[in-house]
Point group: C2
Chain length 356, copies 2
């Protein structure tokens, strides 16, 4: 059985919601779990879930209560005496706090005790610990974060979602390869269409990086299914499956998407409070809004994959609750079981091509 | 009376919707209008509006019919025999097509026949024509596009929205000065709060440009009200009034906001079609959704100001219809009447400070 390590101490709602998500995933997805953190706090959370169940809240909407029989689950607890806080400089922190939950969680993957790690704490610390503890895949200069977004059609992968602020065209080509592998093997997209995030469709558009990347990807069309530039407006149309950009642009793009949709929902909620008729409209529209919210919410995809390291690291949103963690564990399991890293390595070794 | 020139031939719905928006603005905002384009086509549009009125459609929602008595309006038609198409290279096009509607529209401002120009055609051509025809303001290296977005509180100005893909920290400081002047004088914000668009709050975050800009703006805190970095997620919270970034990042940010909100509305519409109860919910919720859509839609702000040239240029969305053009003309009028360029020049001359 695949075993997933979880940094039980990372994120705004650790350890309770993290442990809850882990137990929920163990029950639903038939995975073994390794909870890394302070044993007494983890055990307290497990006891509480045993007696009270999991109260799942998604996107501020109240939800059902889930009962879980933890006695039937394969749960291992690994002690970590330290925790890396959000403000700490990642590189320093992972060198100093060798007994922290994120460092020991990555260690669990490096030593083979678990098959993947899920972390909702400091993204920088998770990246640094993974890079240091697992090492880079051959042929990859820098690991990158692959984030899955919903569209009107199939989900799209944006890579890099924030690992590298300064990039080269070669790095973006490697991101394209990793994103294609992910889209194909984990999301099940046939011959994924790759585009460069840009401010216009024409080849000459954009900053120096975007222009040079366009040229390079055009030369690699025998290897990846490059369709050209894509503008921000078109991301959600679903016309392409993998979008490459540097981590600075990618991170801003993702957070703006989050900010804009959250503002829209808050505005709708406010509008539905303006008068009695509005309140009735709101009550009726509520379940439909909730369904949409779930479709677009990051909690549905659970976490982003850090691609390019010799292991599976899934980075979850810092505000993740049980439902998001459960989904992040599903992503980790699927990534591991499809052997994504082996496929990336094979591809970069020159023995593969994604265009079919 | 302030007179606004309009490129009647630019945009997806030219000339009819452009002319309609211009006449509507003339009637509502007490401005004189100079329509630049092919006289026969402009006159045909005016005749049609005289007999049929303006059918206003905002964001795909059907709207009221507006009757306008054009005989009372101050309308001038200036002949332009050429039109610059969307695909043309802007620099070349404005040099080659000296009788195009955008070049002659900018000329109208340069010669003082009109006080501002509104254009919904090629953004590149409008920028090139303005830079060439009006020249730069003293102290400004490169003009930038200031785009106004709604937030939960006051609107925020994002600058640069797409004029310059490669920027220096000095340029971003100048954008901060221009954005502050705009926010204060046109949007009426007291002591506008300025932030750098970045991927984290700390000073050391982001790419080289963001880091260097942070340092420079910190040194200029006696001149602008710099509050630090802002993440994409927080843009819509309304905690800051002016956000500076390079035009590559800014353009992607704006188009993603547009794409994400349009996807959300499309998803809600789809969801409201799933079954009979959903249809009823949709019918009741419809007017409320429409109100939100109007709040967040670009049509409400009408157009973005090209700041840094010696004149007022308002660039509208290519898909603008009458309502958006009407609002763009309002923005042009306000910018002209508040003397924004004089204020920018005074500020850069060293005799002014925005922190109060």
């Amino acid at each position: 059985m695949t075993r997933i390590a979880i940094d039980a101490m990372g994120g705004d709602h650790a350890p309770h919601e993290i442990v809850a998500g882990a137990l929920w995933a163990a029950a639903d997805y038939n995975v073994a779990i390794e909870l890394v953190g302070k044993p007494d706090r983890i055990e307290y959370a497990i006891d509480k879930i045993n007696s009270e169940g999991i109260i799942s809240t998604v996107g501020g909407f109240k939800n059902q209560k889930i009962r879980i029989d933890t006695s039937k689950l394969d749960i291992k607890i690994t002690q970590a005496t330290e925790v890396i806080e959000m403000g700490e400089a990642p590189g320093q922190a992972i060198r100093k706090k060798k007994k922290s939950s994120i460092v020991l969680g990555v260690d669990a993957v490096a030593t083979g005790s678990s098959d993947a790690i899920v972390a909702a704490g400091s993204t920088g610390a998770a990246m640094a610990a993974s890079l240091f503890g697992l090492g880079r895949l051959p042929g990859i200069d820098r690991p990158a974060i692959a984030v899955t977004l919903p569209t009107m059609k199939k989900p799209v992968v944006i890579i890099d979602g924030g690992a590298n602020s300064n990039c080269t065209p070669e790095m973006l080509y490697q991101f394209a390869v990793m994103g294609t592998t992910f889209s194909k093997n984990v999301l099940g997209v046939t011959n994924p269409r790759v585009a460069v995030l840009n401010i216009g469709e024409e080849a000459g558009k954009g900053n120096e990086l975007a222009q040079a990347t366009y040229k390079l990807l055009e030369e690699k069309q025998d290897k990846i299914n490059f369709i050209g530039n894509i503008e921000g407006r078109e991301i959600f149309s679903g016309i392409c499956n993998v979008i490459v950009c540097d981590g600075f642009v990618g991170n801003i793009a993702l957070k703006i998407t989050e900010g804009a949709s959250s503002m829209l929902f808050r505005m709708l909620k406010q509008e539905f409070k303006t008068d009695p008729l509005a309140r009735i409209a709101g009550l009726i529209a509520y379940p439909f809004m909730k369904r949409i919210y779930r479709k677009i919410n990051y909690e549905e995809f659970g976490g982003a994959l850090l691609l390019g390291v010799k292991g599976i690291t899934v980075i979850s949103h810092g505000s993740s609750k049980a439902y998001a963690i459960k989904n992040a564990i599903r992503v980790a399991k699927e990534a591991f079981e499809t052997g994504i890293n082996k496929k990336i390595a094979e591809f970069l070794d020159g023995n593969n091509s994604f265009t079919e």
